[in-house]
């Protein structure tokens, strides 16, 4: 018998370890274009202690460990590129604490975005967190591990900027806490202790986040979004700049897509607002749609499509069905807002070259400090040619990001190489040292962010 | 390669608490019972069907019984048999020797490299039919086979002994094996599969066509009667919902010093 398997059974129980072809098959994929690669074990732990034991075992046996939450990060970040243990963290799904006054939530790593949203709606309706545009089974911890952003990015920045504290199992098995929780029962701040931010953005290559404290924000009575549309992409940076100046929007997204055809080529701005009263809403609406955008309407450069109350849960998975084929993947990038017009035009060219209906989107992060710009490519899972097309388009988009002076968000292996090639050698060298120090045997998510040894 | 599988139809007594002896005192009351294929024969058929899937095998299923026995042959056809033959003779009152005489006579008329039987029947459970047929055919046999592997002109088998031990043989073909349960996992036969099997060839023969006379089929061991066996001491039954039965049982175990 396989002694690693036996040990894993010992740790998590036989029901939560599998070496059967079915589990190995399913955990060999992410949902995008990355070639599947089978893990040797699929394991679903329930506690931090179990994860410690698994990681120690993996270290002894030199077996890779690939953590995943919702498994929705795409780009191959949760594909066991070198086999080993696919560590499904979704059983660790306890919401440990919500501190209403200090506005934070402490969650285990398997808690999904949908779960926290629902929990807050039911128990703390005056609070919300910044929910990313992913399907609701995406996890809080997975999202901060890749520097995700959500629907409160405009006022408050990246989700990883909202982290108040972390509990992490190091690749060598120790549990570490960062932020106030390392010295106090409160999980309310990361600062002002010496900075040891070694896990955010590392895509699971430096350790396994087991608990996160994430900031929560006021949730007002009325949530809704106004739609503003322009024909000329060149106007978008200016509009974004002016809208952010109002400090009124809690989310600001510009997008353009080929489907439905009648709005192809148009640029939509979704401006989300929240208010505790009609008075507040009227004020905000007036400030944005009359005082700020009114002149564009009068000039005939833009149109107001109305304001919809209520917040629609993002249903990005629908994009996957554009080619009736169950698949899409996108390149996300963090770009200066001023590059929007170029990002759109060049992205549209890439899509059209590969016969894919184009869809581009820019979500503003901070006060126009940056935007997450994405180029999405749908493909038909049953048609390898379309998968190949999408993969090429993705690579071309990665190239484009760097050409335009941006940075790739959660790049796959191809994009990681591009980034590392351009990176300041001293920075890269520091990354190498950090990785070597934390993960001497290179067991954490190998194949991703291979900084060299 | 030609494979012949002999199958039997048996009453399914599992759904009844008790069986009743009929007026003849030599049979049980069958009216309330449904019939099914003998469990062991299902394993034999599955073994044959698996051989057929691997290599060029022609598979014939045979039985001896009255016309309602066709249903077990339909099942065999649905499981992959190419043809099926029923010898039309009610042999409920016959002994194993007579039944094997008929089956041996039938198999003799068929090409046969490998003959498979279930190791025993669910109803009478004598476990002797297959080995008797082998002897009548003058071919080697192995009873209680738990694994088989057909090679060129021979079959390698493991026979089950007591206490988990096995006995291995290489046997030249033609040979006869009686198949023990657990040798494989018999597939489910869908109602649709059985319906489709209705179109396959099912041949009926009589014992006289096989050149057999009543005299040749006279029983050697004569069934005198069935009896309800004396049951030993009966268990003391604990009744009630699980809550109560479990509680009482725990009490009993405690009194017995087990808990």
């Amino acid at each position: 018998m396989d002694s690693i398997y036996d040990s894993l059974v010992e740790i998590v129980g036989s029901e939560h370890v599998s070496t059967q072809p079915e589990e190995l098959y399913i955990y060999s994929f992410d949902l995008g274009t990355t070639e599947p690669h089978r893990p040797d074990y699929a394991v679903a732990p329930r506690t931090t202690g179990e994860i410690q034991q698994i990681v120690r075992l993996a270290n002894r046996e030199k077996v890779p460990v690939v953590p995943l939450g919702g498994g929705l990060s795409l780009a191959g970040l949760a594909v066991p590129l070198k086999g080993g243990i696919a560590l499904d963290l979704k059983r660790m799904d306890t919401i440990i604490e919500v501190n209403e006054r200090a506005r934070y939530a402490v969650v285990e790593c398997g808690v999904s975005q949908g779960q926290l949203t629902s929990y807050l709606e039911r128990r703390h309706p005056r609070l919300m967190h910044s929910e990313p545009g992913a399907p609701p089974q995406a996890t809080i911890a997975g999202n901060v591990a890749i520097h995700g952003q959500g629907d409160l990015a405009q006022p408050y920045g990246f989700n990883s900027d909202m982290v108040n504290g972390l509990e992490v199992v190091l690749p060598t098995g120790e549990v570490c806490r960062f932020g106030s929780c390392s010295i106090s029962p409160y999980w309310y701040t990361q600062h002002p202790l010496p900075d040891v931010g070694l896990f955010l953005g590392w895509a699971g290559t430096t350790g396994i986040i087991t608990r996160v404290s994430i900031k929560l924000f006021p949730c007002k009575e009325i949530l809704g979004a106004g739609q503003f549309v322009v024909e000329d992409e060149e106007l978008i940076p200016e509009l974004v700049h002016r809208i952010t100046h109002t400090e009124m929007a809690h989310d600001l997204v510009a997008f353009s897509q080929a489907i439905p055809p009648f709005s192809s080529g148009l640029h939509h701005l979704t401006i989300s607002l929240s208010a505790d009263s009609e008075k507040e809403l009227d004020f905000k609406m007036e400030l944005i749609f009359d005082d700020t955008l009114g002149e564009y309407i009068r000039r005939g450069d833009g149109g107001f499509l109305g304001f919809t109350r209520g917040q629609q849960r993002p249903q990005v998975s629908k994009t996957s069905d554009w080619r009736k084929g169950g698949g899409f993947e996108y390149v996300g990038s963090i770009m200066p807002v001023e590059t929007y017009p170029e990002c759109y035009r060049r992205g549209r060219e890439i899509s059209e070259r590969h016969d894919i209906p184009y869809t581009v989107l820019g979500r503003v992060i901070g006060m126009s400090h940056a935007m997450m710009f994405s180029w999405t490519y749908a493909f038909n899972r049953a048609d390898p040619e379309t998968v190949r097309q999408a993969r090429e388009a993705l690579h071309e988009s990665d190239d484009l990001v760097l050409e335009l002076g941006g940075t790739i968000w959660k790049p796959g292996v191809y994009g990681q190489k591009l980034v590392m090639e351009r990176m300041d050698p001293n920075t890269l060298n520091l990354m190498k040292k950090v990785k070597q120090l934390l993960d001497p045997n290179g067991i954490m998510n190998p194949g991703n962010w291979e900084v060299g040894r | 390669m030609d494979v012949v599988v002999c199958v039997k139809r048996v009453p399914d007594a599992s759904g009844m608490d008790a069986l009743v002896i009929d007026a003849s005192r030599k049979d049980i009351e069958r009216r309330t019972l449904v019939a099914k294929i003998n469990d062991w024969d299902e394993y034999a058929l599955e073994a044959a069907a698996q051989l057929k899937e691997k290599a060029g095998v022609s598979l014939t299923a045979v039985t001896v019984g009255p016309d309602e026995w066709d249903d077990v042959l339909r099942r065999a056809l649905a499981m992959g048999a190419d043809r099926a033959i029923r010898v039309d003779e009610d042999m409920l009152a016959a002994d194993c020797h007579a039944v094997s005489t008929v089956l041996a006579a039938l198999v003799r008329t068929l090409p046969h490299d490998l003959v498979l039987f279930g190791a025993q029947s669910e109803d009478f459970g004598s476990g002797q039919l297959g080995v008797m047929v082998a002897e009548m055919l003058g071919i080697p046999h192995a009873a209680l086979v738990v694994s088989l592997e057909v090679g060129e002109g021979s079959v390698r088998v493991d026979r089950e002994l007591e206490a988990g031990a096995l006995e291995s043989y290489a046997i030249e073909l033609p040979a006869l094996l009686t198949i023990q349960t657990g040798v494989n996992r018999p597939r489910y036969i869908s109602v649709g599969g059985i319906r489709r099997a209705m179109k396959k060839d099912l041949q009926i023969m009589s014992v006289s066509e096989l050149g057999l006379t009543a005299e040749m089929l006279a029983p050697q061991a004569v069934l005198e009667r069935l009896e309800t066996p004396p049951r030993g001491k009966e268990a003391e039954l604990i009744s009630g919902p699980p809550e109560e039965t479990a509680e009482r049982l725990v009490g009993i175990l405690r009194n017995a010093g087990i808990l």
């Binding site: - | 049980i28 009873a143 291995s168 039954l237 699980p242 017995a256």
Partner: protein, 323 residues
């Protein structure tokens, strides 16, 4: 002198229990019929077996056959058919073992004599022999007679017949027969079951599951109950056939014989092949949906219910008591 012939079987350098039991029955009938009890042992180096057999039989026939450490059916058949033709015993008793099942039917056909297998009783009536065998999985018995047969072969069920005194000194007689190796059926050896992690024969408490457990996943329920009781999980044949537990957990004729303090038979109907391996337990408790299940005929306590309902409740009660 009329004779009763007992075909002896040996396993692991010992005369098999079942053969000694056949001699017990043979002795009783021989006494009744005024006949001699003859045992025959066939194989390689059978002298030791012959000595053991001579404690029970009036005469022991020894047939030395090379390359036959353990009994094999076909060579034995050749020896026996010749002996039986020669001596014409009125009854031949063979154990209903794997060996007996491989041997007896062929022998009966060769000799054209009646055979009844798996008997739990053989008696001598005025008009001849009677043999009784269980049918319908023990729910009925069938009684057989044998018209005018000169010789009758009966195989007997293990554990159903008493062992005799073993105080005789039977005489020995060598049977020498021209005999060559079989070319059409080559014996290739034995496999003993591999020793496993858990030895169910050592356990004080066995939680034994049968077909009623329905699914591999439910085995865990039984494991939890076993843990609570400080015992281990065993099973009946179908559970091994389905691949839900390894063969070394199987209790019964083709598995292990166990004698725990408590044997909890869960969803086990109580087929003889199983019962023979566990009836030595101190206390037997059976849970089965079918009130007519033969297991209730051997258990001390019974619960008629679905085991999947009873097990969790029982586990909880036991755990509650322990903590």
């Amino acid at each position: 002198m009329r004779e009763i012939l007992v075909v002896a079987e040996h396993r692991k350098q010992k005369v098999a229990d079942i053969s000694v039991q056949m001699l017990g029955k043979g002795r009783q009938l021989a006494g009744q019929a005024g006949a001699d009890l003859v045992a025959v042992t066939i194989g390689t180096d059978v002298a030791g077996y012959a000595r053991e057999l001579s404690r029970y039989a009036d005469r022991v026939l020894t047939a030395e056959v090379s390359g036959m450490q353990e009994p094999l059916a076909e060579p034995s058949q050749r020896v026996l058919s010749s002996i039986i033709r020669d001596r014409k015993p009125f009854l031949v008793l063979i154990g209903h073992s794997s060996f007996g099942m491989d041997l007896a039917p062929a022998l009966a056909v060769e000799l054209e004599v009646p055979l009844v297998t798996d008997c739990v009783d053989v008696s001598l009536e005025e008009d001849g022999l009677r043999a009784v065998r269980p049918v319908y999985n023990g729910k009925m018995n069938a009684v057989y007679s044998f018209a005018l047969a000169q010789t009758v072969i009966v195989t007997g069920r293990v554990g159903e017949f008493p062992v005799g005194e073993g105080d005789r000194r039977g005489e020995f007689q060598e049977v020498s027969l021209p005999f060559g190796p079989l070319d059409y059926k080559r014996f290739e050896g034995y496999t003993e079951q591999e020793a496993a992690g858990v030895d169910i024969t050592e356990a004080n408490v066995l939680v034994s599951v049968g077909r009623g457990i329905k699914d591999r996943a439910s085995i865990e329920l039984a494991e939890r109950l076993a843990d609570a009781l400080g015992g281990v999980v065993a099973c009946s044949r179908p559970v091994v056939d389905y691949g839900w537990l390894p063969a070394d957990r199987q209790v019964g004729l083709s598995g292990k014989t166990v004698k725990p303090k408590l044997y909890l038979a869960l969803g086990i109907s109580g087929a003889f092949q199983h019962v023979v391996g566990m009836r030595g337990a101190n206390m037997i408790v059976a849970v089965n949906r079918d009130p007519g299940a033969p297991i209730f005929g051997i258990a001390d306590y019974g619960i008629v219910d679905d085991i999947l309902r009873v097990i969790p409740v029982l586990t909880e009660k036991v755990t509650g008591l322990r903590s």
